[in-house]
């Protein structure tokens, strides 16, 4: 299990214990995080699992794929340099304690 901290757009923090091997979208849903929708079940087609990842964790993640880049241009809330689709982030010990901010809208 890996600890992940979600911060919603009002600043409220929720810590979840995520299953290693799940992706962050699945972990957020299993952990009852409301700001994540995941309409396409992780197929990288809906941009409703958008998150902002804090450093130093951001740099440790695999880079965005071309498909993810495209979807991030279509998010409901503004795209920032630390925007990611949470379905593309794999849970593992390397991101223990990662802080993730939720956008206002998905």
């Amino acid at each position: 299990m890996t600890k992940i901290i979600f911060v919603d757009f009002k600043g409220k923090k929720t810590t979840i214990e995520a299953r290693d091997g799940d992706n962050l979208m699945q972990a957020a849903i299993a952990g009852g995080i409301e700001g994540i929708v995941g309409e396409c079940c992780g197929a990288m087609m809906c941009a409703t699992c958008h998150v902002y990842v804090e450093e130093p964790y951001l740099s440790s993640l695999l880079e965005r794929s071309e498909g993810e880049e495209e979807m991030l241009e279509c998010t409901a809330s503004e795209q920032r340099t630390n925007s990611r689709l949470s379905c593309q982030i794999k849970i593992g010990p390397d991101i223990e304690g990662m802080i993730v901010h939720l956008p206002e809208e998905q």
Binding site: M44, M45, M71, E73, C74
Partner: protein
């Protein structure tokens, strides 16, 4: 809020989302979901896709069990509603139990179409709809060498691509002259036909299955085609011949039916205390004025939110851009709008043979887009379709069919 008990029939995407959204909307009464399947509500789309490879059913769940406790959502599993007694505002379950409702939400979805051909009772003649079906299919695929898909729609093609990826010989028999004929334009069908053929899938288009044969042990062996009479060898046969709405209890109760359960723009049936949403509901798509019944996640989610808002006392008429996706061997198809109504198509020049964008017009107005591996065009098409103003073929033509430019300009003027 006087409506104390909301009963939801169906525990799929639409039924689950209604319960979740009722709580988000601040509804504090009782919520009961009645599901025909065992277990917690789960996502269906991955069953024909990633679930074959990543068989972790935990990952399919919308929420874990504590969510239902915390939100006081009672979930009755593995049981069907047999009757709606509108005069008493009750539903009757198959075990005779009676449950009273103040408001009733019908979200039964669809069931697989029966195929009236001999031989469907042989072992390893399977269907795919539920998690249990998917587990059975995955198990059967392990020992199989050749699969025949009956039906070349979305599910048939998705499963075919997975099975081919696992190394099976795969044939698809489709009644229409092209794959996904009822859902997509000719260039998109052709793209996927070429892709499947290149993967080694054999396509039998414009063909019907006459019968299925098995051996003395009851195991399936061949599928005989009705047109050519050819026999296709297969130790696994999967029937993906489409679905029909699961609406018997609604029809029996005298609710208006028009392909699906007829609802107004607030998802209300002809009984003001009964609503219907998702795959089994027929509603009027505002932009086209057509009454439609759509089978998609988007439709289930957005209609669930609409009905929850209505019940919670903040009604807002339903008006959403329909969208849909399919994923076959890593190739992503997305559909925005209702492209089936189109009388004119425009295929955009593509910078890559792996990408395709086909724009759909009706009476020279933009009504939708089908895109392959082009999420950007898809999302932009959705933005354009959500605008109040219609966009004409001429608007597209004069801007070189650049969707982004159109979206930006129209957003400014609109």
């Amino acid at each position: 809020m006087t409506d104390n008990t909301i009963v939801i029939v169906g525990s799929g995407q639409a039924g689950f989302q209604t319960a979740a959204s009722l709580r988000t909307e601040g509804f504090e009464g009782e919520i009961v979901i009645i599901g025909a399947e065992p277990g917690l509500p789960y996502q269906r789309p991955p069953l024909s896709k990633t679930y074959f490879v990543d068989s972790d059913a935990q990952r399919l769940l919308f929420r874990k069990s504590d969510f239902f406790e915390k939100n006081r959502i009672e979930l009755l599993q593995n049981i069907r509603v047999t009757r709606i007694k509108r005069d008493k505002k009750q539903v009757e379950l198959e075990d005779g139990r009676i449950i009273s409702y103040d408001k009733l939400v019908l979200a039964m979805g669809t069931k697989n179409r029966d195929l009236p051909i001999p031989g469907t009772n042989f072992e390893n003649v399977l269907q795919l709809r539920t998690l249990a079906d998917a587990d059975k299919l995955r198990q059967a695929a392990k020992g199989a060498s050749g699969a025949v898909m009956i039906g070349g729609g979305f599910i048939g093609l998705e499963v075919a691509s997975v099975l081919r990826g696992l190394g099976l010989d795969v044939s698809i028999v489709e009644l229409e002259p092209r794959v996904m004929a009822r859902s997509v334009s000719e260039p998109v069908s052709a793209f996927f036909e070429n892709m499947h053929t290149a993967m080694g899938v054999k396509l039998f288009l414009g063909e019907r299955v006459a019968s299925i044969q098995g051996n003395a042990q009851g195991q399936v062996e061949t599928v005989t085609l009705g047109g050519s009479g050819a026999k296709l060898a297969g130790d696994l046969v999967i029937i993906c011949a489409g679905v029909v709405p699961d609406i018997q209890i609604a029809a029996d109760a005298g609710l208006a039916i028009e392909n699906g359960i007829r609802v107004d723009e607030y998802m209300t049936t002809n009984d003001p205390d009964i609503f219907s949403i998702g795959d089994c509901a027929a509603f009027v798509h505002t932009a086209s004025g057509q009454r439609v019944r759509l089978e998609s996640v988007q439709n289930a989610l957005d209609q669930a939110k609409c009905v929850a808002a209505k019940i919670a006392g903040h009604p807002e008429a339903y008006d959403r851009v329909p969208w849909f996706w399919s994923d076959q061997a890593g190739t992503k198809l997305q559909i925005a709008g209702l492209t089936g109504q189109a009388d004119q198509w425009y295929e955009k020049q593509s910078d890559s043979p792996k990408k395709l964008t086909v724009l759909a017009f009706k009476d020279s107005q933009f009504v939708g887009a089908e895109t392959i591996n082009n999420a950007s065009d898809h999302m932009t098409a959705r933005k354009i379709l959500a605008l109040q103003d219609k966009v004409s073929f001429k608007d597209f033509e004069s801007r070189g069919f650049d969707l982004r430019q159109i979206a930006m300009e129209k957003a400014r003027t609109g």
